[in-house]
Symmetry: C2
Subunit: 486 residues, 2 copies
């Protein structure tokens, strides 16, 4: 068998990583797979194999032993070593080395994603994003200290499996926060910790929605929430949005034609029009939902950032029937990268959502949850929110003034009572053309068509976020937006 | 209106949290909701309101202004202040304070969870869990330093939104690891970071499975994976497991009756029997899957802990057709609480899974991912794995010896070539009785009925994990298990 070495990739034994023994074994396996060594074929003994492959005899011995233990070869005392006879017989193929890489395409089919991938602004663009808070002043030192303390003090517990509901200290701290500051009067058992509000919405969709169920949504709204409901098979019905928020008459009309499983809305700072749901509509919605047993999913995504007076109490604070599922997040007040959301709802639903969590990703990051609880208990989160409210208030004023100066008659907007973005209406012709010219000038923002249900008509409006750019950048963006007017 | 104060909860203005102004406004709202103040009713002016409620006039003024901004009241110059006329008219209710708490039950229905909640061992029980590694020696110091470094150096980026595929450095480090140590030859683009293998399985179920699709699973297997596939509507078909692992003939028989979407299996240390899938079956499975375009989901959950020889190369290393989806995790080698899993697969599938991630929970914890990448690059993970292999090897030996001493003829088992548990067969009668007596003595372990498909017959076997208890505890557990024999 003097041609033995030719059966193998000459470089099979080179390179870092595994031992020569392992690579020799792998090379023999490869030769079997490719049909160059047939089932039942006789192999060289360890001494001759070692000579042929240029390795120690012990290396060859170890490789052969491993192959025998794995079932690739068999030893017959006195007769020799053979490739196992029960392996499938593969017609010999031309020399093929070890797998060159992950195959470029899968060997099976799968459905494409329903959504188009999001547009990516180029680096350096001025992005007027409403959802991305200023991250430069996040209390990183406090956070890392708290995380380290959590791990070193209680490491074993926090690194292990735990309840999918979330760390008890964080549930308690969130319950305290919503009770003291949002009128929700909740206990720790009424709270589920999630990885951001997106996970909360996805869990709710999985638990509440059966294929074909009707879910009412604001006609101008938040597409990632729609995706979650549609994944669960929901049929989305649009409710118009006007100067008082979502049109509750339209919900009543929908209920007249058939059951509605849930309504998803943003009643504090309506996304994206920023209009608060009026008190009259709040009360009617709660009464309607209680009577028809409709789940009201209230997404209070940027609660802390209310500028005129106090933040409005959530729908949930007035909900005695248990129809409201309150979804909150720390993403806007701390950082989106921390993925810290929560649900406040009657306990049986919280427990059901937690059971679903086991199947989805088992549990949250317990050490991070313990650290966030500490930040809440110490008031660090609230102090940061107060600081950011002042910063954002100044930025909002700067953007408002700059837009009036540079695009005064072309863009109409109310200054909203809260939130981190303006909703501006383009008062001229050719809104898409102007948006394109803004992008050409490096200014990016979301527009109504991206945020509108397909069965509704988008107005020529833009969502102009002011949270993530400083005042100079906002003024520059407004200047370019004005220059983009023809 | 001298009875004004009687319209309000006498303690409405007490307590911490919000300002007196906010609480006054809330109390007025509450009175309106409860019908004690009717739409159109005239309110006291600010001076008389302040006197009646025992607050500063400025406080009352501010409260009324806020209520007017929110639409609860209207001011008619010269006429006075009135409850808004367009509010729904609610029949007056007996005195009702602010919401006493989150309602005990939801006002809508939802389906119950399909799975029973897991049994909870009492505190202090000796739990022979195979999946819970010893957490006492996790490199916490290295991890917290790396996390802090990640946040303080690149804080802004890591705290922000990022690609759902995972942090590029971790994708690269994982690609390196599987290439060098597992024969997978993958690049960063072939890797998706997930929150544990559970999330990987759930994402795969969402992307691959349509309701009614057949998914083949080992008849003795891993129930959380089954749950993920069943949530997506899969019909699970059991494949018997024998001394060579999953029965590939049974897969071929299933394919003869109709299409099979995917097969899910644990071919390295079969969960729970610990038998490696034999080479002959590996090759037949890959050929069958390639021919019939079946996705092969390979869950290599405890790769590093192979005791006899080198770890077996995964199915994926021999997969040229792109049918294998390789799921790995750092949970067993680091800690389950860190939720660090990954998928290696052809890039189009990785991208599709990432798109699904946007809807599920948007992205991972980027700072933690950066920290894990550093631990992998520094070899910290591999050093820890080597240390733990030695520890687990000693524990396995201790458990084996103690079981032979205390329960020698009652429990039959092979010493498996890898993994963190034994699979032991009860050789006497009344297996359930013995299990119960073990639990009464404070010894808990999983048994075949909990790990068996409903359409298959469980053998009288127990999964005896040795990773999370030290040698003394393992010996004590074996002693009690022997005592539980009658």
């Amino acid at each position: 068998m003097s041609d033995w070495p030719l059966l193998f990739d000459p470089h099979a034994l080179d390179g870092p990583g595994e031992t020569k023994q392992a690579r020799l074994a792998a090379a023999i396996v490869q030769a079997v797979r490719a049909g160059r060594l047939r089932p039942g074929a006789r192999l060289l003994g360890s001494r001759r194999l070692a000579e042929a492959m240029g390795v120690h005899r012990n290396t060859a011995l170890a490789a052969l032993r491993a192959l025998e233990a794995e079932g690739w070869i068999t030893t017959r005392p006195g007769a020799g070593t053979f490739v196992a006879a029960d392996l499938p017989d593969v017609a010999a193929q031309p020399f093929a080395g070890p797998r060159a890489g992950t195959p470029a395409a899968p060997g099976f089919d799968f459905p494409a994603a329903p959504e188009a991938p999001p547009a990516e602004p180029p680096p350096g663009a001025l992005v007027l994003a409403g959802g991305v808070p200023d991250l430069r002043s996040v209390p990183v030192v406090a956070l890392t200290r708290a995380w380290r303390r959590a791990l070193t003090v209680a490491g074993g517990t926090l690194l292990s499996y735990g309840p999918p509901h979330g760390h008890p200290a964080l549930r308690a701290a969130l319950a305290q926060m919503v009770t003291r500051l949002r009128g929700l009067t909740a206990g720790p058992d009424d709270v589920l910790v999630t990885r951001g509000s997106q996970q909360a919405l996805d869990l709710l969709a999985r638990v509440l929605v059966r294929p074909g169920d009707v879910v009412a949504v604001e006609a101008l709204g938040y597409p990632p929430a729609w995706s979650a409901f549609e994944r669960a098979g929901a049929r989305l019905v649009p409710l118009p949005v006007d100067g008082e928020g979502a049109d509750v008459d339209a919900l009543e009309a929908a209920l007249a034609t058939g059951p509605v499983r849930a309504i998803y809305l943003t009643p504090h700072h309506q996304f994206p029009t920023m209009v608060p749901l009026s008190p009259a509509r709040r009360l009617r919605l709660l009464a309607l939902a209680a009577r028809h047993r409709v789940a009201v999913i209230e997404d209070d995504y940027d609660h802390e950032f209310h500028h005129v007076g106090r933040p409005l109490h959530p729908l949930a604070s007035a909900d005695d029937a248990g129809v409201v599922v309150y979804v909150g997040t720390l993403s806007k007040v701390l950082a989106p990268g921390l993925r810290a959301g929560f649900v406040v709802a009657p306990r049986p639903l919280i427990d059901r959502l937690a059971a679903e969590r086991r199947v989805v990703d088992r549990q949250g990051d317990r050490a991070l949850e313990a650290a966030l609880a500490e930040l809440l208990e110490d008031g660090e989160v609230q102090r940061h929110a107060r600081r950011m409210r002042r910063v954002y208030g100044a930025r909002r004023a700067a953007l408002v003034e700059a837009l009036r100066a540079h695009a005064g008659d072309a863009l109409g907007f109310d200054v909203p009572p809260g939130g981190l973005a303006l909703w501006a209406r383009f008062e001229r012709d050719d809104f898409p053309g102007w948006v394109r010219r803004c992008r050409d000038r490096g200014v990016w923002f979301q527009t109504a068509p991206e945020l509108c249900r397909p069965d509704a008509t988008p107005p020529p409006c833009a969502r102009l976020g002011f949270a993530s750019l400083d005042e100079d950048a906002l003024r520059e963006a407004a200047r370019r937006m004005g220059a983009a007017l023809l």
